[in-house]
């Protein structure tokens, strides 16, 4: 089962959470895995909490039900911590990738945390405080489940319709997220 | 194919099972013969559909389809879209009764117009659900007796007014919407020809008396429809892009009683105690329509007397002529 990973992404409507999930699934697909991405089903409302899910597997993914025991959680907005049970079902030793300058002091038991100022990084490269691709870079670096090369290719594919500038800006953002994490010492509490 | 008549196509030919003296059969025969067999006809459920396509026998001599009651305009939209996709420009015609137009079919009709389909929608308005045995529709005029608006101790027939559907059509700002009736063939012809010369959604409301439901002698279908116009109760109008552009002037206004008397559906107004008020109400409705559309003073060369004119050797027939009569556009 080591080649089967489930990831849950949290964000708010408009932050590109579902898009990030699709991008992650695409990345895994580029790396030769089977993958699946889907949103938390429901109507889409801007600003409301959003969840999306990704499955990555060596074998064909048949199931189409939701996932309840993620291996990693990506949190795009610390504000969500106040109201949502963001860590529910996270497997022991699971990874949390958090868009924040530092880990919240009072949270997390036996999890791995990666905190990085993804919005600022995103703003610097993309011109808008978009954390999603930065966080994917961090997740790739923090887990090794997918390669940076595949992530860059997926971004190129996924965003090609938006033009080279956008693609390049996102690739820069992903790279910075990836490098930031690789250079940081992982926090294991 | 039946080719008995050399002077028209009989798009709706003989052997159909309409009641004797059916105004709708007459109207449909006129309209479809004016348009001809080189068109696709979509029919809503209703008398016309039932009597013309009975049990393996069809009175239609043009491509014709019936689906369900409410959806004629939508089926036509699909037909028109298919023709467009295939690069054809065969005319597409919808035929529906007042139920299929004013009531159950209104939504599909509105959608068809809003989307701008190149379709002529013809409503044969006989002012009630005749197919099911004369129940009231939203087209049924005020004070009319139907099986679901019966006069009684507490009622004088239908309480509500006839829905002003032509105004609803006009509010879509559609290219062409007009009212007509069987009594004025030259006017009907001019309107059909005009409608057929315009692209986009078009609407024609043809008042079509029903001897069964209106309870008049079967020979009086034309006479009664003429009186509907002459009294001002059914104004003949043309509206283009939402603006009134033509009316049939009344050569003289006839009292509504002349129209109501031959019709059993108004009989209770002449025998009941409260009938007088309703008669005055109907007269007031006629007066108001005449005033609203300027039917007595409109500056037109065409009027109810001239449009009736019988001429030696026919009134234009079914062959299209660009110089034929038609509603003059009022000032």
């Amino acid at each position: 089962m080591s080649s089967f990973h489930e990831i849950r992404l949290h964000g708010r409507g408009g932050q590109g959470t579902v898009s990030a999930a699709a991008l992650l699934a695409l990345t895994a697909f580029e790396d030769g895995f089977e993958s699946q991405a889907f949103p938390k089903f429901g109507s889409e409302r801007r600003g409301a909490p959003v969840e999306a899910y990704v499955r990555i597997s060596r074998s064909v993914i048949r199931a189409h039900n939701q996932l309840y025991r993620p291996d990693a959680v990506v949190i795009q907005d610390t504000g969500l911590l106040r109201s949502e049970p963001l860590l529910r079902g996270l497997k022991p030793g699971g990874l949390i990738v958090l868009n924040a300058t530092e880990k919240p002091a009072d949270m997390g038991h036996s999890f791995r945390w990666i905190s990085l100022p993804a919005s600022q990084i995103g703003e610097r490269h993309i011109g808008r405080p978009l954390p999603n691709t930065v966080l994917l870079g961090a997740l790739a670096a923090g887990t090794g489940w997918v390669s940076l090369r595949a992530l860059e290719r997926a971004i190129t594919d996924h965003l090609s319709s938006k033009g080279e500038t956008v693609v390049n800006a996102n690739i820069e953002a992903v790279r910075e997220g990836y490098l930031f994490t690789s250079n940081e010492e992982e926090l294991v509490l | 194919m039946d080719k008995r008549d050399l002077f028209r196509d009989n798009v709706l030919t003989s052997g159909h099972r309409a009641c004797s003296g059916c105004g709708e059969a007459m109207a449909a025969r006129m309209v479809t013969d004016l348009i001809g067999p080189d068109a696709i006809y979509i029919n809503a459920t209703g008398c016309l559909q039932v009597f013309s396509s009975h049990n393996q026998q069809s009175a239609w001599q043009a491509p014709w389809i019936h689906s369900v009651f409410a959806n004629a305009a939508a089926v036509a939209s699909g037909v028109e879209a298919a023709l467009r996709a295939k690069g054809k420009n065969t005319p597409v015609i919808v035929q529906a009764g007042d139920g299929g137009t004013f009531d159950i079919g209104l939504q599909c009709l509105s959608g068809m117009i809003e989307r701008g389909h190149d379709i002529l929608f013809v409503c044969y308005d006989n002012e009630a659900y005749m197919n099911t045995g004369v129940q009231r529709s939203s087209s049924t005029p005020h004070a009319v007796r139907t099986t679901t608006s019966p006069p009684g101790r507490l009622a004088n027939g239908k309480h509500e007014l006839k829905k002003d559907v032509i105004s609803i059509m006009a509010a879509h700002h559609m290219p062409y919407a007009a009212t007509a009736t069987i009594a004025y063939f030259p006017d009907l012809k001019a309107k059909v020809e005009k409608a057929m010369s315009i692209k986009g959604p078009r609407f024609l409301q043809v008042l079509s008396p029903c001897p069964l439901g209106w309870m008049h002698d079967s020979a009086l279908s034309v006479t009664v429809s003429r009186l509907a116009v002459e009294t001002g109760l059914f104004p003949l109008l043309e509206l283009e892009h939402g603006e009134l552009t033509g009316v049939m002037r009344l050569a003289e206004q006839k009292p509504v009683e002349e129209y109501l008397r031959p019709q059993g559906r108004f009989k209770h107004l002449f025998t009941g105690k409260e009938g007088g008020v309703e008669l005055r109400h109907l007269q007031a409705l006629a007066d108001a329509r005449i005033r609203r559309y300027g039917l007595l003073e409109a500056d037109t060369k065409w009027d109810t007397a001239r449009a009736m004119q019988s001429e030696r050797n026919g009134r234009g027939g079914y062959v299209s002529t660009s110089t034929s009569g038609g509603a003059e556009h009022g000032a």
Binding site: R62 | N55, K86
Partner: protein, 397 residues
């Protein structure tokens, strides 16, 4: 080429490859992504079709009715309330024997209003005269849609491809999209003789009476029955050309030596297969049967597959209120007809988006198997799963 695509997008691409000339639809969750994508294709000039924004699903169905009757291949999609609003027209399309193809993005039916997936909508129109094909995955949705046009046009019967809303429509997964040339090689240009054409006028949809109405219905029913063989044959042809099968009428999993068979339809079959794998590792002689074609009901094929089973558990996401499981009832009738008295359990679940995880399915399996030891009645009563397992981990902190 295998791509990771959202289910809606994948079927929209499949629709595009089938070259419909008219697309008409009215938006309803969770069908929207399909038609949005098609609208964009038309806007981009990638699909040479008339895209008609209907004023209702009733209108949309009517529009494709008219378009097909005029000789144009057409497409529509809807779900739930929209499908029910179409119902009158669905019967009409089938009665007119028009080869319309549509996707039903399966969704629950209100009240209470619910946008999530179950099969209540399409199951409610099972008698309308449409072929109904339920797909397990997005790949199958793509393949089935292409086959659907072929089936519809050969049989002169309308086909409804049923794909679970959200669970498939909104899920990104790898899908192999065939090329245009491949699809063209499988699906010939639209051909339909009974069309509205002034050069060959005909009356379509005339009134009928007692002396022939029944014959029309019988002919329709026979065509449906006969289509079973066509569906199988066209899947075989598809497999030959594309190297993939959709299983035709149904598809078994781990049926070798299976004493207990879990039968279901649609996307839940993924979880069923996972559950079967788990149960097999636990030593249970269990297999799964995915019913792809619910209409026409493939009684013979089912009997063939199930004749060796000692117990059948039918898991379905719809209920005939006051009746129970629909597939179970029909299957039971078919088995009875064949003299097979295998116990058959009807389990209803997954309504309104309630998740059917492999764990839930294993639980159902175990409960039903345990129950058997105590039961003498071969025809088990229906059960409605209300809350078989905790719906997910609660928050930590």
């Amino acid at each position: 080429m295998k791509q990771l695509l959202e289910g809606s997008q994948a079927v929209a691409e499949a629709v595009r490859l089938c070259r419909p000339q008219v697309v008409a639809a009215y938006p309803i969750t969770p069908q929207t992504h399909i038609i949005e994508r098609l609208a964009q294709h038309v806007a981009n000039g990638e699909l040479a079709a008339e895209f008609i924004n209907a004023e209702s699903e009733f209108g949309a169905a009517s529009i494709v009715l008219g378009a097909v009757a005029s000789g144009a291949r057409s497409f529509t999609a809807t779900a739930s309330q929209g499908l029910l609003l179409m119902t009158e027209v669905l019967y009409n399309i089938a009665g007119l024997r028009l080869p319309v193809v549509m996707i039903c993005a399966n969704r629950a039916v209100g009240a209470p209003i619910n946008i999530f997936s179950d099969h209540q909508d399409s199951m409610s129109v099972r008698d309308a005269g449409w072929i109904q094909l339920y797909v397990d995955s997005n790949q199958m949705a793509v393949d089935m849609l292409i086959q659907a046009y072929r089936i519809a046009e050969v049989c002169e019967l309308p086909v409804m491809v049923c794909m679970d809303g959200f669970l498939l429509t909104h899920t990104f997964e790898p899908v192999v999209l065939p090329s245009q040339a491949e699809v063209d090689g499988y699906l010939p240009a639209f051909q339909f003789a009974r069309t509205l054409d002034p050069t060959q006028p005909m009356t379509i949809g005339g009134a009928s009476e007692a002396d022939n109405y029944q014959e029309y219905r019988i002919a329709q029913h026979h065509a449906m029955e006969n289509s079973l063989a066509v569906i199988e044959a066209l899947d075989a042809e598809f497999e030959q050309q594309f190297g993939r099968t959709s299983g035709g009428l149904l598809q078994g999993y781990c049926l070798d030596g299976a004493q207990i068979v879990l039968l279901g339809m649609g996307s839940l079959m993924g979880a069923v297969c996972d559950a079967v794998d788990n149960l097999r590792t636990q030593g249970e002689a269990v297999g799964a049967l995915s019913l792809r074609c619910f209409r026409p009901f493939p009684a013979q094929a089912l009997i063939q597959y199930l004749s060796g089973a000692q117990r059948i558990i039918v898991l379905e996401k719809a209920i005939s209120i006051g009746g129970g499981g629909i597939v179970a009832a029909e299957l039971r009738a078919a088995l009875y007809q064949a003299g097979i008295t295998t116990p058959l359990e009807s389990v209803i679940g997954g309504l309104g988006g309630r998740d059917l995880t492999p764990e839930v399915i294993e639980t159902i399996f175990k409960k039903r198997v345990e129950a058997e030891t105590e039961m003498t009645n071969h025809f088990a009563p229906n059960h409605i799963i209300t809350d078989e397992i905790d719906s997910g981990g609660k928050a930590h902190g």
